[in-house]
Structure formats: C-alpha cells, structure tokens
C-alpha cells in the first residue's frame, strides 16, 4: 500500500510541475526545499541511530559490512551492463549482416 502512496506522490509532483502549475516562488526554491527536507530527514535518522546503543557499539562491524556490500553490488552491476553491451554489439552485427 505504501508503495502505491509513494508512486502517487511522485506522479502528483510530476503532473503539477509538467503542467506549469508551480508557484514561481516554489519553482525557484525547489532544490532548496528538497535539500531542506532531506537534511531534516537525515537528522532524524541520525537521532534514530544515536538512541540505539547497539549500533554505536557495532560501528566498526557495520563499516566492514558496508564495504563488502557496496563492492559486491558495484562488481555485479558492471558485469550485468557488460552483458547488456555484448547483447547490443551482437544485435548490431546481426543488423549489419542483414543489410549485406
């Protein structure tokens, strides 16, 4: 249900701004508004971390896990795009052969 709400909210934003119905003041300050709400959310997320003693005590472990997870994501995503580009080249070749 939550996801439908999120998509609806994003689409509402897209619709309002693409129809040019944005207030000039909002339009000018859009990136600032976005940034302010982001900073507030991150501050609250920080509070959530700070309240929780077990996270503070395990910060080193979390750091190690983070490095493993980010590197494995990057390596596999590069490999997946490599497969996509191989497919592109394969298709291009097929088109060229058809033309000959």
């Amino acid at each position: 249900m939550r996801i439908i709400l999120y998509i609806f909210i994003i689409l509402a934003g897209v619709f309002i701004s693409s129809k040019g119905k944005l207030n000039e003041m909002v339009e000018k300050n859009l990136s600032k508004l976005q940034y302010a709400s982001l900073l507030l959310l991150l501050f609250i997320m920080g509070i959530n971390i700070g309240i929780n003693d077990s996270i503070i005590n395990e910060f080193g472990k979390l750091g190690f896990q983070a490095v493993v997870l980010s590197l494995s994501s990057i390596i596999l995503s590069v490999a997946a795009v490599k497969l996509v580009t191989i497919y592109f080249k394969h298709k291009e070749k097929a088109v060229q052969q058809d033309e000959l």
Partner: protein, 197 residues
C-alpha cells in the same frame, strides 16, 4: 557529496545519544513518513520540470532501458551475494543493494524497519558513491563507456554525472542521466518490497 549531509547525520546521532530520550523512537516512524512523502513530492516536481527525458529515450531507442535494468539486477544480486558471505538475511541485503547508491532515501526508508539496517544502508550507499566516483574513470578506460555508468547507480543523474561525462562521451552522459532517473524511480518502489520479503 555534500558536507552538510554528513553533518546532519552526525548532529542527529549526537542529539540521539545525549538529548533525546529513548521514548522518542516511538514517534520517529511517523515523522520519517511525513518527511519522506514531502521529499518524494519534490523529486516528482523535479522530474516533471525536465521534459527532455522522454525525447531522449525515444531518440536512443527503448533498448537503452536495458542498462538501468542491468544495473538494478546486478546491484541487488551483488548485495545478496555479499550479504550471504556476511550472514545477513536476504531481505536486508537485497533492500540495501536496491538503494543503488542513493544513501539518503534507502537509509531513511530502512531505518523505519530497524535503526541498524538503516545505518548499514546509509554507510553502504555512501561507500558505493565514493567507490563509484573513484572507479568510473578506470572502468570507462579499461572496460567500456556504458559499464562506467553501472557503479554510479541512482547517482548517475546527479553527483556522478560530471565524472561519467568527463570520462566518456556526450551520448553516454545522456544514457547515464536516463539510467539515473530510472534507478531513482525504482528505489522507493523496490526497497519496501524487498525488505518485506
């Protein structure tokens, strides 16, 4: 990456440690929900202002959308494998991977699930952005242009875009932007789905 983002998180951690009572954590879910809706609304407005995206997809052909699909699949499978090695449950590792480097949104969403997973998502996706910025020029040189978009994930449309654009060419920069838009749209959809598995 902006200094003020790290500052906001650190200020939050310090005030959580010393100022706010433990009972405050009951209200955090609701506050995050309201703030997240606000943020997503602004993100939507930003996308709506940029009318070029659809035209760019049309001129590049729809097959270009295979690239964000590849990045999404690779990131999630990669983090599941990494999480497997670390002994993390699949729902946590896959949801963290589906942050695609957008550390703020994925971490905020996951901190509703558990503060620890939120913290791990934050650090993981910050690491991803840092590793992306460092590795993109080398991947572009030794592997290929489109592959250089992959580490950036959702940041391929903003923070990593200048680096990709410099390391590759104009066409790759456009593909990078589209990839970033698609992945950014997927983050708020995939993260809640994967964590609830």
């Amino acid at each position: 990456m902006s200094f003020s983002i790290i500052l906001a998180v650190v200020a939050g951690i310090i005030s959580g440690l010393f100022i706010f009572p433990d009972a405050f954590s009951v209200h955090i879910g609701l506050i995050i929900d309201i703030g997240l809706c606000l943020l997503l609304f602004f993100v939507g407005m930003d996308i709506g202002r940029n009318k070029e995206i659809l035209n760019q997809i049309k001129s590049n052909g729809y097959k270009i959308l295979l690239i964000p699909c590849g990045v999404a699949l690779g990131s999630i499978v990669g983090s599941i494998l990494g999480g497997f090695a670390l002994g993390l449950p699949i729902n946590e590792s896959s949801a963290i991977g589906a942050g695609f480097g957008w550390y703020s949104l994925s971490a905020i969403e996951l901190s509703k699930y558990s503060a620890e997973t939120g913290a791990l998502a934050f650090i993981t996706n910050v690491c991803r952005e840092v590793f992306a910025l460092v590795s993109i020029p080398y991947i572009a040189k030794y592997i290929g242009n489109y592959e250089a978009i992959a580490p950036a994930g959702a940041t391929a449309m903003d923070t990593s875009l200048p680096v990709i654009s410099k390391a590759t060419d104009a066409n790759t920069a456009i593909v990078s932007f589209i990839t970033g838009v698609v992945l950014s749209t997927l983050v708020p959809i995939l993260v809640p789905i994967l964590i609830s598995i």
